[in-house]
Amino acid sequence: MSERQDIIRIENVRFAYGERTILDDLSLTIRRGEIVAIMGASGGGKTTLLGLIGGRLTPSVGRVFVEDQNVPTLSKSALYALRRRIGMLFQFGALFTDLSVFENVAFPYREQTDLSEDMIRTLVLMKLEAVGLRGAAHLMPSELSGGMARRVALARAVTLDPSIMLYDEPFTGLDPISVGIIGRLIKRLNAALGMTSIIVTHDLNETLRLADRVVVLSAGKVYCDLAPDDIRVSTDPFIRQFADGLPDGPVPFHYPARDYVGDLLAS
């Protein structure tokens, strides 16, 4: 396998929740080793895209290749075999609240491997050390701050050294220091473990610092696919609205409604 090989190939995918089309004829290719940020308005299908890559959602049309396997057609066992090579960080960490920090990180080892207790202990402490929380191993998830919980979840997501990491809004609800920590961890893990990372995010500053490519989704399609530097200097009104956080623009401030005056005066 060559270094620059495509690891994820999404071809003409359509996805809808009932009548509401989320993704429409979307195609996207991600190369091995890249950090790709997926951006776009809320409800624009970013998280759906992660669901398709992880095989939790099935497209109505199109193909999703991950490591040359067409995910929607995989059997449950083949899908689970693939998922052992995919790590996912959920929006709020999704730590198991009935297990301690240590046990949360040990969970994939206990479920997926036959490693001895000593070995598991060593590996878990190494993962926790990598996210700076070895000292918090005995705490319960309810005792952690949001940023700490996210770091524990990150340690848990990389326990089996996945080749692909999916991040669902990893920066949401974190203070600036935690955002910086998570951002740096994502970058470091990606390089150290030779992973490919896909980050769904709203945090433009952190994204531009972190990503190799920024893919902006709009109306269910790839609106643009640019390097961070190109985003900074772009004059496109949609990208500018996004980058500068303008309330109104190509993405309207108002939800579609009938005429304001008419609505107020209607009896």
């Binding site: 939790r56 052992r84 996912m88 929006q91 709020f92 999704a94 994939p108 997926q112």
Partner: protein, 265 residues
Amino acid sequence: MKADPISLLTSLGHAVTSRLDRLGLAARFAFAVFRVLGVVFLRFGLIIRELYFSGVRSLSIVIVSGLFVGMVLAVQGYEVLQRYGSTEALGVIVALSLVRELGPVVSALLFAGRASSAVTAEIGLMRATDQLAAMDMMAVDPLARVIAPRFLAAIFSLPLLAALFSAAGVCGAWIIGVKLIGIDDGAFWSQMQASVDVRIDIVNGVLKSIVFGVAVGLISVFEGFFAVPTAEGVSTATTRTVVTSSLAVLLLDLVLTVMMFRGLN
């Protein structure tokens, strides 16, 4: 809403199809759970934890309730038996009522309120906080890891809880009947021993509570697994577990009682 016949018919149709839809979903879910049960038996440690939370932690409410129910049965039974001069039959009346009916039924109702509601809320919250999704993404089947152990725990716990309920009830009846009212101790026990049949009474009672365990266990994990992932959704699911379980237990009890005891003697 205007009550024109077409819209009435439409809403009736919708009510029927949505319920049938849910019933179909429940059947498919049950099938999926049964398929992974074998895997869970290989990891019995998972069931032990659930047995503790569902079964052991329900002990106090079940035993105390059993004691009170037995006492009430003794008081009421004595009042009636006295009219016919056969107060020594009190032990039989109480034991049969408990072993055949009240033990399995009341302990299942208590279990639904005490343990099943907690299971639904726990699974519903695990879903709402993406814990089940995270597990699934880690290539660990939530059905096998989370759902099946809780389901099996209900099936294992209920017959034991029902037995303890009945035993506590008999003790309660003995305290009231023998110690307080003064019925003959020997008659109380010997009549009970002579009239309670292992096959007809005990085995049927245990069978009932196993069936109730399947129903209550399945309802609790189903409602939790498909709970709408919001605070309101989880609370609705918890309520539904208690209501549906209670109705299912009472309905199943009627069916089972007719099948088991009709035409005896």
